[in-house]
């Protein structure tokens, strides 16, 4: 049995429940027989990937679902061999070049060129002579890799079409942006999520409160709790349904333990601003890091928790945000996460102490 997220993932553009405008545009692009390079951006859990896969289905028919995973080896200029996973169907391939860190340029240069130089032969429909290449996490592509994309996108445009997926366009260099059609996918609204959840509940025979108002208010609560991230919402909805026989407003939402740890940490920092507390929080931070919570997420959660704390006054908030933005930058430039997280805590304590 698969997770609901996968089970109820819409397969075609028509069955996607929200942002009909985007679906319509993608559909008309797909049916025109021609297709520009796309850059699809939006927060995670908004349905970027689902839309892309549905578009491919629209373009090529069910053949795109015959996917397989290949491992290819590439040689770096310094003759080191690297392995790389490729998900492909007869019509498209999907890569995540940022897996390779600084070597992502080689994939772009070698793999894309190789695909670009061979023409697609399709006797059945003869309609689409190009292959689609989906590049995940395009915003973490290195500058070199993006520069390598530039001419490739133009030169081989008869044989390949690129679909770049990213969370934001900030880290995409302007030449790439000017060569692609930008598609923004916002998060679904709470009402839209409620609609999706009720549909799932109906199919899964979940017992929900019979009162319409109560039902939608509880579903809305789940959606709000997961920050309108649809994937997260469905996952937590499923968890809730598994742990409770019937869902009512009395049910406690499943809280992620790491979020709770961070919330506690932030409370502790506001309450007790001392060196002793700082050294205690170090062990908490280490605990979080060793559970593979990315440092950037810890920082973000911490900041937001601090900002929402009623004991923190407005002048403090300005300085805390400033500190957070500074340490956020240091996190991305530096390599030892714990330094910067601790630095941020210490700085926040100083800010709160001085503006008391």
């Amino acid at each position: 049995m698969s997770l609901w997220v996968d089970k109820y993932r819409p397969k075609s553009l028509d069955s996607i429940d929200y942002h009909f405008n985007i679906s319509k545009r993608l559909k008309s692009l797909a049916s025109s027989g021609d297709f520009p390079h796309l850059l699809v951006y939006g927060p995670s859990g908004a349905g970027k990937k689902t839309r892309i896969l549905a578009t491919l289905q629209e373009l090529y028919g069910p053949g795109v679902n015959r996917m397989k995973i290949d491992v290819r080896t590439f040689k770096t200029p310094s003759n080191r061999k690297i392995e790389f996973n490729i998900v492909s169907s007869p019509y498209h391939i999907e890569i995540t070049p940022s897996d390779l860190g600084n070597n992502d340029r080689i994939i772009i240069q070698d793999l894309l060129k190789e695909i670009g130089q061979t023409e697609q032969i399709d006797f059945q429909t003869g309609k689409h002579r190009f292959k689609i290449v989906i590049i995940n996490e395009a915003d973490s592509l290195s500058r070199d890799a993006q520069a390598a994309l530039r001419r490739t996108m133009e030169k081989y445009s008869t044989n390949i079409r690129l679909i770049l997926i990213s969370n934001s366009t900030s880290n995409i260099i302007p030449p790439i942006k000017s060569r692609t059609l930008l598609i923004r996918v916002p998060l679904p609204t709470v009402n839209e999520i409620v609609g999706v959840l009720s549909k799932i509940a109906e199919k899964e025979d979940i017992r929900l409160p019979s009162n319409e108002d109560e039902k939608s208010s509880i579903l809305a609560k789940i959606a709000e709790h997961s920050d309108r991230n649809l994937r997260k919402t469905i996952l937590s909805f499923e968890a809730l349904a598994m742990t409770n026989d019937s869902i009512s407003s009395a049910c406690k939402l499943v809280e992620l333990d790491w979020e709770k740890v961070i919330a506690d940490l932030s409370k502790q920092v506001v309450k007790d601003r001392s060196v002793k507390n700082l050294s205690q929080s170090r062990s908490v931070l280490y605990e979080l890091l060793s559970h593979c919570i990315p440092a950037k997420i810890i920082l973000k959660e911490l900041t937001f928790n601090l900002l929402c704390d009623p004991r923190v006054t407005d002048p403090m908030k300005y300085d805390i945000v400033d500190a957070s933005s500074l340490f956020d930058e240091r996190l991305s430039l530096g390599s030892k996460d714990i330094f910067h997280l601790e630095g941020f805590l210490a700085r926040s304590m100083v800010i709160m102490e001085s503006k008391k």
Binding site: K24, K27, S168, T169, L181, Y318, D328
Partner: protein, 373 residues
Amino acid sequence: MSMASFFNQRAPKKASSKDDGDRKARMPWVEKYRPKNLDDVSSQSHAVTVLKKSLHTSNLPHMLFYGPPGTGKTSTILALAKQLYGPELYKTRVLELNASDERGISIVREKVKNFARLTVSNPSKEDLAKYPCPPYKIIILDEADSMTNDAQSALRRTMETYSGVTRFCLICNYITRIIDPLASRCSKFRFKPLDNTDALTRLTYVANEEKVQYEDGVLEKILDISHGDLRKAITFLQSATKLHGVAEVDADGDISIDEQGGNNHESSKITVTSVQEIAGIVSDSTLDEIVTAARTHDFQVMFKLSKKLAAEGWSATQMLDQLHDKLILDDSLTGTQKIHISFALNETDDKLSNGTDEQIQFLNFLSKLSQVL
């Protein structure tokens, strides 16, 4: 896909004779309307006049083209090379390397040097009659600013030693990233952003060739968005056309519009709003909302707004870019305020380009902005 729609698709193509036309229809317009000769190059009169002389005298220096994207640098050199050699000789006389090719120091030492070293072949009689065919080869190093310093240094001597048989053309966006010894060996051509009249002429030409239907003011809007980047403008035009052309046909469920390849846009006109949407431009009302939130000096309001904007998926750099235009030109702000705003914009942009979290950085900018206002 249902069975019916499967059969609705076009029958397999019959002959390959249609292939060329088909390929052309599928080409991005940027490639399709790349200038074929120097006269077609828009705006860059200075560079074009100098280069045209080389057509007659067949005397060409090493060249360094620099300027912002979409101003015609690559187009100019490709057009020149085509006019110098003609399609046949072009294949053997021109080596084009760009950032998609491996261009480390080893390639400069081997591939570039080997090509530079070759003596020039004799042109055929037909080519000689039609084209100048000067006795040297051209190596085009596109996007040269992404070459490493080592690779650039390796070029230095190569450029001089084989100058008898080879000319180099370096193309880059930022001249500061080209090492001085290389820059001093080339005659430099600056490509300035296209002025609006020239760009408009070209864009109108493309639009007419493709029989695009558009509302008044759309082309001007496209140019406005693209800030003198003609490639961007043409790409926008094509994207808009594609989105609009098929929307109508989509309604009656008929897929047969594909018959003419790219010419399927008789249906509806392109509007200003759709152009804005395609370009990912933040709407004016959203910008107003941001400024209003900053003016309230209420932290919770700003916090909520930053959350909302992140959920909408707007890119922070795009918002900063547009806020910059809006705030710096706002006459109700004092000079000092504008200085502080510029500083905050600069700082946030710098941090964003280091790959930081958008929401935190934008919230920080908002808080800075509200402190200034």
